[in-house]
């Protein structure tokens, strides 16, 4: 085999044109930032929607002049209609779950950091990587289009020309109104089932189907890269926990998104091709019998959706768990407590996550026997989560904690994850779900874990890796203020949700005034709204800090946090090919902090061998049975 000389130690030339550098870039770092910017945009839309929802619940019937101007059909005279409220519920959930929680943690930070942490130049398939972002972006645009197709009479009329039932638009809502879960047959029947069920749903399905494809392309890249492109000495058990988290997340995405895609295709066909996958016979809707549909099963939609939906929530949280482990260890100046157990827990959560989807369906009419099985499996999944929590606290025990902003958010993550996760013990039991299913108790649970813990993971990651990405530090003072208001704020918003659930308050109600049993909730509702407005407002400080620091932040060194992993061995920001053509060699595990006898209180993964490592304080090492090969 001839050894061609000119490609040994060949460095790939970085692109020159603006378009190839920043728009259609193949560089995983640029793509990672693109995903983060997409999430930063989507989260603004999601937050605005939630504030509108809170206003409607707190002061129903109020005339909001600006609403009347922007949404004359959905909020006539400035009063939000019920269908308008429900469309906010739907689009808030969709925007947040897909375009925030499934983009930034994995596609954003994962894309940027994973290749560097394993010592690679880029992802395995840079072209596919670029495609995964732009496909996701197109999905985002289609979802925005759904808002206009329903909300705007002109755009809506155009869509109605495509088909009276499935494409009917202009209802005045901001997209569809079936909830992000789009249960059939409400979502399958089309316009006849009510406003917002026309073009809004059809475009929603198309948007999500596109998103599925983008996500799958990303998952493919992550898995191949991690299996195939680790550098010399980077064994699987020397990888930072962030990499384990991104890997497991990618496997979950790989195996769950196709099921959502399949379900979405079936739903779309029911709407536009007259099939009956989810529509049973004998449907009598809005005063008329529906002919031409029979034999479908609404439960089938739920099974397909939740088979995806449950792994999806672990996709949302695992990267945050990885980042938290990583950041806690770094600023505690201590190895992560129980590295192996942490890896095992990540696997266990990932795997068990595929067997518990039925806990969303206890009351659905499915077999009560399978409900029992799902319930017991669901409570089992609490065990690896508990292990992780113990280990996080164990990492802080005996530590020497530096309270930087990323560390505050990582500690905050542990706190809110416990708060949100613990109520899983309640909701996972069939007997208790009689009361709590579809109440605000559920909303409390998933917001604390997804809407708070996951976001805290992202904040921690942002403050932590911003210096590496942009070569400048974010402002610490602003960061700390952001943390404090957000930390207290999110608890003020979501702990009261449990109380609302205890009263029996149902989800997805645009108004609580119809029922006597809800009359004691008004104080809670107002309290939450005030907390929400304050918490959402302080996020402006974060945005300001983020963009201002990009240009005006203090210049960052290569390793401002004195961390140990590979990304801190290269310049801030990194060169185009990360390691400037040099293949890094790894000699240690990722969390060698405070090693006795070492010159500094951290040993970088690339520091050569020669440091004596002794067992610490009579405890057995959690890092492997064959002695201290770090």
């Amino acid at each position: 085999m001839a050894e061609a000389s000119h490609d040994v130690a060949h460095r790939h030339e970085p692109p020159k044109s603006f378009i190839r550098k920043y728009i259609f870039s193949l560089d995983h770092k640029v793509i990672g930032i693109q995903y983060i910017l997409l999430a930063l945009s989507a989260v603004i839309v999601g937050m605005l929607m939630s504030v509108l929802m809170r206003m409607n619940l707190s002061w129903p019937g109020t005339h909001w002049p600006i609403m009347g101007t922007l949404f004359p059909t959905g909020a006539p005279g400035g009063v939000m209609s019920a269908e308008f409220y429900l469309s906010l519920v739907t689009m808030h959930g969709t925007m947040m779950v897909f375009f925030v929680l499934t983009t930034a943690p994995q596609g954003g930070f994962g894309n940027y950091i994973l290749p560097i942490q394993i010592g690679a130049e880029d992802m395995a398939f840079p072209f596919l990587n670029m495609m995964s972002f732009w496909v996701t972006f197109v999905g985002f645009l289609v979802l925005l289009l759904a808002i206009f197709a329903e909300g705007n009479a002109t755009v809506g009329a155009w869509f109605t020309k495509l088909g009276e039932s499935a494409w009917a638009g202009g209802s005045g809502t901001v997209g569809s109104i079936g909830g992000w879960t789009q249960y059939a047959p409400l979502s399958a029947l089309g316009k006849v089932a009510g406003p917002g069920q026309g073009a809004g749903v059809t475009l929603w399905i198309i948007s999500i189907a596109i998103f599925c494809v983008g996500s799958l392309l990303g998952a493919l890249n992550f898995i191949t890269t991690l299996l195939n492109m680790r550098t010399r000495g980077m064994s699987l058990m020397r990888m930072p926990l962030t990499c384990w988290a991104w890997f497991t997340t990618a496997v979950l995405a790989l195996l769950s998104f196709p099921v959502l895609l399949g379900g979405g295709i079936l739903l779309l066909l029911d709407r536009i091709a007259g099939t009956s996958f989810f529509i049973p016979g004998g449907e009598y809707v809005s005063g008329a019998l529906i002919p031409n549909h029979a034999g479908g099963s609404p439960l089938l939609w739920q099974h397909l959706f939740w088979f995806f939906g449950h792994p999806e929530v672990y996709i949302a949280i695992l990267p945050g768990m990885g980042a938290t482990s990583h950041i806690l260890s770094t600023f505690a100046r201590k190895p992560i407590f129980g590295y192996r157990a942490m890896v095992f827990a990540i696997f266990a959560i990932g795997m068990l996550g595929f067997f518990v989807w039925g806990h969303h369906m206890f009351m659905s009419g499915m077999s009560p026997y399978s409900a029992v099985a799902f319930s017991i499996l669901t409570l089992s999944i609490g065990v690896p989560s508990a292990i992780k929590t113990f280990n996080w606290i164990g990492t802080l025990w005996g530590a020497k904690i530096r309270f930087t902003t990323p560390m505050l958010f990582a500690i905050g993550f542990v706190s809110v994850f416990v708060a949100g996760g613990i109520t899983g013990l309640v909701l996972g039991q069939t007997s208790l779900d009689f009361f709590f299913h579809d109440t605000y108790f559920v909303t409390a649970h998933f917001h604390l874990v997804m809407g708070v813990a996951s976001i805290f993971g992202m904040f921690a990651a942002t403050y932590f890796w911003f210096p590496k990405m942009f070569g400048r530090m974010m402002h610490e003072g602003m960061g700390k203020l952001h943390f404090w208001v957000t930390f207290v704020g999110v608890y003020a918003i979501f702990i009261p949700f449990h109380a609302m659930g205890m009263l029996g308050m149902p989800r997805r109600y645009s108004n609580f005034s119809e029922y006597e049993f809800l009359k004691n909730s008004h104080g809670l509702v107002l309290f939450v709204t005030v907390a929400a407005i304050v918490t959402v407002s302080i996020q402006l400080l974060f945005y300001f800090n983020f963009f201002w620091s990009m240009f005006k932040g203090k210049k960052a060194t290569d390793n401002p946090w004195e961390a140990t992993t590979l990304e801190w061995t290269i310049p801030s920001p990194p060169p185009h090919d990360n390691f400037a053509g040099v293949v890094p060699t790894v000699y240690h595990g990722p969390y060698e902090f405070s090693v006795p006898g070492a010159p500094r209180d951290f040993i970088m993964q690339t520091e050569p061998e020669g440091v004596e490592v002794t067992a610490g304080l009579g405890e057995t090492s959690g890092n492997g049975g064959n002695g201290h090969k770090h």
Binding site: P280, Y284, S286, K334, S375, I401, V418, I495, E514, E516
Partner: protein, 282 residues
């Protein structure tokens, strides 16, 4: 910073625990035979949750207080963990969680893994956007056949087939009426989309799915009038898809359900009884 953080975490912990312990926002009173069993299972569970929540937050707060960085030259404790500790706390957690899980199946099993008792009174429930319809079997205790083609939202919302002799004495009204201390079997159906039957005091909820007829049973044991809400998003008026469940003493119930409805006799008497009983005070 570590001390302030610890204090903040502990304050939040105390406030959260207070919210539950004060019982200021709590379940409404249970009115079914299985209700108290649900409540006691919840009490056990929330106690475990509360202890775990408090322990974790206190532990977290304590570590950030005690181990905040100080100016001394001491390093952090170099430890990769403790396998024995891992095993112990994994086993303890698993035992507690699985025990809760198994205990949490008992009420479910008693309601769902056994058929309705033989003496249960059967009522057919037909939900629609945005109304509840209740079909009573009348004096012959037999529910008449229903067909979607016969539905007329104004006059015959459940689609009763008049050709069926069993349908002659049946009544269909918008209120659920059940006897106290006698098992009731509901046959849950929907005309259009998925709804959900929810009476908080009953401690019972069940989806109504188009294309299915779901049989459930329970026994209410406190006379009174209770609100019935829809608990599955069904469209824009989901928030006001409202009705009532009236729990009557045995004699009043027997008297009512013996009435036919060809001249609205059942409906009239039902409305009288509905007005007679007040809602609980909240």
């Amino acid at each position: 910073m570590g001390r302030i953080l610890a204090i903040a975490i502990w304050f939040i912990t105390v406030a959260s625990l207070w919210m539950f312990l004060s019982h200021r926002w709590w379940f409404p009173e249970a009115i079914s035979e299985h209700g108290p069993r649900v409540d006691s299972q919840f009490a056990i569970t929330i106690l475990v949750c509360g202890i775990a929540f408090a322990a974790a937050q206190i532990g977290l707060g304590w570590t950030v207080w005690k181990y905040r960085d100080s100016a001394d030259k001491q390093r952090a404790t170099y430890s990769h963990g403790n396998n024995r500790l891992e095993v112990v706390w994994t086993i303890v957690t698993a035992v507690v969680f699985i025990s809760l899980a198994v205990m949490g199946q008992r009420v479910w099993a008693s309601l769902h893994l056994h058929a309705a008792p033989a003496n249960a009174y059967r009522i057919e429930v037909v939900a629609q956007q945005f109304d509840w319809n209740f079909h009573y079997p009348g004096k012959d205790n037999l529910l008449g056949r229903t067909k979607p083609e016969m539905i007329d939202d104004a006059t015959n919302p459940v689609g009763l087939d008049e050709a069926d002799p069993n349908a002659k004495d049946d009544a269909q009204v918008k209120t659920l009426v059940v006897p106290a201390n006698r098992p009731v079997e509901l046959i849950l159906e929907s005309k259009d989309v998925t709804h959900s039957f929810w009476v908080p005091q009953l401690r019972f909820k069940q989806d109504l799915v188009p294309g299915m007829a779901i049989h459930v049973h329970f026994t209410a044991n406190k006379v009174g009038k209770y609100e019935l809400a829809c608990a599955e998003l069904c469209g824009m008026n989901h928030f006001k898809m409202k009705s009532y469940m009236l729990v009557l003493p045995e004699n009043e119930f027997d008297e009512l359900t013996a009435l036919p409805n060809d001249k609205g006799q059942f409906l009239t008497r039902k409305d009288q009884l509905l007005a007679k009983y007040p809602l609980p005070t909240y």
